[in-house]
Structure formats: C-alpha cells, structure tokens
Subunit: 301 residues, 2 copies
C-alpha cells in the first residue's frame, strides 16, 4: 500500500492554521518525507507520524517554505538519539547550509546522516520494494518533483487452501515467488491454485512548485496519483505565470493530459481563507480531485 | 509599562505542546523579540502578536532551539511587504547563515534589514525610552543574556487641575519636562501642583541558557524581573552542570542573591510532561516565582 499524509498544505507564509509544505509518503511501513517547511517536526507530533520510521527526506528546492524545518528535524533526531541511517536528498547547497548550522552549534550528529545532491532525472532510491526518481519542474529556482514507483510484490498466499493441503511453512517463500509445490508423494500443486497475483504496483508523483508546463507530463504520465500545486485560483493566471506557480484549472489540465487517476492539490496561497473554491474549480477540469488537508492521509488508488 | 509575552518555553525538542525559546518584550508599544526558535512566527499568529511592531530581534546564541525560526520570520516579513527597519542582534556567524539562505532562494529583502554582531557587555539599543545591553552567560557555546532598562519617562499631567487653570495645550510638553507655568498675569504655577512624577523606570533581564554562575549576578542585580532557565529539576544537578544548564533551586538562588523582585522560569526539558514540580521547587527558594507559560504575558512589577 502506498499513501500520502499531508503535514503542510500552504505556500510561503503560514496562515489560517495552514503550514508550509511537507508530506509523508508511506510504503509498506517505510516513511519518506517530502519537503520539510518550518514546523514540520511539530506537525509530526500533532499527527502522530513516527519520526523514527523516516529513513529518507527529499527536498524539492531551496525556497524556505520547503526546507526551513529540516535542520531542526535533523537536530531533533540527534537529541532523541536516533540510530538508523538518514538519507537527505536536495539541490546544492543544502548540505552546506545544514552543516554550517550544525557546526556553529558545536553539534556532532550521532547517527549516519548522508546528503545526496540531486540532479535531473536521477534515480534516488532503488530497492526491492520501491524506486524513487526526480525530475525538473519549471520554477523560479532549481526545483525537482519526485516519482515514487512501487515494485511488483510477491504473490499472495491463499492460506486456507495451503493449510488444507498441509504444505509446510518452509515452502511459503517459494510459493510467494511463484513456484509450484511437489508433495512427498510426488503430486504437483500448481502455484496459482494456492496463491493470488500480487497487488498492482502503484505510482505517485509529487510535482513540487512549478508553473503550468506540459513538459512535466512525460514524467508523471499514467500515475495513479499526483500532487500538483494550485497556489492560486484560476482568475490569477497572470500572477501564477509571473511567480512560477499554477492555478486550479491548469493543474486539472495537467492531470487530464497526463491520464492520471487521482489529483491531490495543495500549496495554497495564504491570501485565501477558504479552500472550497480550489476544490470546485479544479474538479470542473478533473473529477477525481482531492484537497490536500493537513493531517489527512490519501491512499494511492 | 514593560512586559514579557512567552511564545516558547521549552528546551531543545518540541514536546507536550511546548515550543522552543522565544519571547516578546513590550515597552510602550514597541515589541522586541528575544530568541526565535522554530515555529515562532506560527506562535505569533496564534497569540496575536503584531509582527509589524517588531523592530528589534535579539538572538542569545546559535543553538537551533533559539534561532531556527529567524530565517522564516525574516522571509515572511518580506512576503508581507514589511516596510520598517528590522535590527537583528546575535553572535557571529548569524548574519552569514541567514544571508546564505536568502541568497540560494534568490530572495532580495525589500525592507531595511540590519545585522549587528554582538560582543560582551555591548549596548545594543539606547534611545529616550529604553536601553538594551547584553552580557555573557556560561553556556557550552558563546551565549548572551539581554538587559532591558527603561529610561525614566516624562512627568504625568494632572489633566483636571491643568484644565481648571486653563493652561494652553501648547505648554503641556514643557510641563511634562518639569517646568513651571507662568500665567499671562505673571503668576507662577509650580510644576508639581499640576503634574505627578513619572512612573518608575523598570529593569528586566533575560538570562538565556546558562549553567549556575554567580558571575551573572553583577549584570542583573536589583532587576524588577528576570527570566532564568530551569531546564531540569533539582535532582538533575549533575546533568545540568554537564550540559551547561540550571536547575530549579539554582535559579532561585541566583534570583535571591541578585535581589530581584520577580523570577520567571522556563526552557523546560522535553523529558518533563508536567511543569508543576518546577514551580514548587523554585518557589521554595524564591517566593515570587512564575512559570513561563506560552501565550501568557508577565508584567515587570
């Protein structure tokens, strides 16, 4: 299962109890943090995100509302005697900024902390469960979106049938990998009679900050869910263009052209008290739209 | 009137809905911000602090829980089209850290922003209303406390008496400055018959992070109120010593020896869920003790 929990859904300035960008992508018990605006660690406490489960942090770009909470989180991990590895991915000079602040505080990090400077279309994580890659978006400064692609899992055991046939537990792994089972008497139990196909591997794209740009489509085409910014309502297209942001109807258009299944919208300007008009406008262009609400979790369908 | 509003009362890690250090010292309509931990700008919104009234920010030291919210606040002022001057005081290399982050975001600050690197016993602000100076505390890294000393104000007009004698408004300033009034007929109205003495000038000291150190006393002696950290309860004296922090009874001892009138305690370790034991222990050594509670305002008596 792949899901996204929103910690911050606002653009630049905190307002109306909305916070700067941060979200947790969860896959099979692993938490990936995407962006880390100021106050993210406080939002994590509020929404009971298990900080210790975070092994990877991806920073899209170096506008403050996307990373000013990172140094505090790294510091907190240290104070809480975090043990496991933490991998931080972001554009240069993120590492320099963080390390300078740790140095002046005379702070030595007690857990394995690895910085990775990201570049266009790089594969950032690739293991048996998931692949995470990045792609450039069209923003005022160097900015990246992130694509999470699940790997196809193992076949699912039909446990009642397996027990009826008294297949020993030591063969379960082999069944999950698709092999048939041979009984002690030499009878063949066909794999698909005791297992079901694995769940479909899903694809989620975080499109970061960007102006309307169809170049994005090639990276997110056919995704099961995307998060696309809608900083402004559609009557602000000129301002959106000038500030390298996107409006509601523009985000819907990208989602439609990219043939995605579900569109999550966020990064709302602090000038708007109500988010309902964002939902209404976007939905007109793309039906399966959801507002990114802080504390809510969205399953990738 | 001199008062202190607490925005964050916790040490290093946010916990139990307590936030890292920040407080607003208000004198006669001017807001001075002292320390600016992560989330300070969000606390300001919550407690309705008028951000536009902040002209000076004092950063005690470069441990993150005292300044990680600064760059966000400076950035927010910019996005809100702040106009007035902002003076930021802190140890080197605070300016470098902030400017680096603004530079990588391609942010040009649109209001007059002035950094001042602080040194031992420097006078930071000195105008007709207030003097602010700094003093070294005994912490793991370079750290400063701040002393706020009101200037004696003008005499207060006894407005009913003044009206009865038909003294023209144009002479009010002269009366406030202590001069007598001469009527058109040449009669002398003695100043103290129509004015009262000014309110007493008050003194408040923020003692920052520090281990127990009687060297502090010379700087805060006779203050009307001090804020002193009590990171730990008194059974943790060894840990406090090792980490350059203070316990409850130690803070009370400093307050007593420095002959201050009121003691405000804060910077509580995130290991403690309840603050009541801090109050009880400190009060035993110094009766006029108050717990620093977020959102509360404490008048300097």
């Amino acid at each position: 299962m792949l899901s996204v929990t929103i910690l911050g859904n606002n653009s630049a300035v905190p307002a109306f109890n909305r916070h700067p960008t941060s979200q947790v992508v969860t896959q099979d018990g692993t938490n990936f943090l995407v962006d880390c605006g100021e106050g993210t660690q406080i939002q994590m406490i509020k929404y009971k995100i298990r900080r210790g489960k975070i092994s990877h942090i991806f920073i899209s770009h170096l506008h403050g509302d996307h990373y000013f909470g990172l140094v505090g989180l790294i510091n907190t991990f240290n104070l809480l005697s975090h043990k496991q590895e933490l991998h931080v991915f972001g554009p240069a000079p993120l590492q320099e900024i963080i390390e300078m602040q740790l140095k002046v505080a005379d702070t030595a990090i007690c857990y394995p902390l690895h910085f990775h400077t990201i570049k266009e279309n790089a594969v950032l994580v690739d293991n048996e469960k998931i692949k995470v890659s990045c792609f450039r978006t069209n923003h005022r400064i160097e900015c990246y979106g992130f694509l999470f692609e699940e790997k196809e899992g193992k076949r699912k055991l039909l446990i009642e049938k397996i027990r009826k046939l008294r297949i020993p537990i030591s063969f379960y792994n082999s069944l999950q990998e698709g092999r048939d089972y041979i009984t002690p008497k030499g009878e063949v139990v066909k794999n698909d009679s005791v297992t079901a196909p694995p769940g479909r591997a899903k694809k989620y794209a975080f499109c970061a900050d960007t102006k309307y740009d169809e170049q994005l489509i090639q990276h997110i085409y056919g995704a099961d869910m995307i998060y696309h910014e809608t900083t402004y309502l559609d009557n602000m297209r000129d301002k959106a263009e000038a500030r390298f942001h996107t409006t509601t109807r523009q985000a819907a258009e990208i989602a439609r052209k990219a043939m995605v299944k579900k569109l999550l919208i966020g990064h709302f300007s602090s000038k708007y008290a109500s988010l309902e008009p964002f939902y209404q406008e976007t939905k007109e262009g793309f039906t399966n739209t959801k507002l990114a609400i802080e504390g809510s979790t969205y399953e990738v369908p």
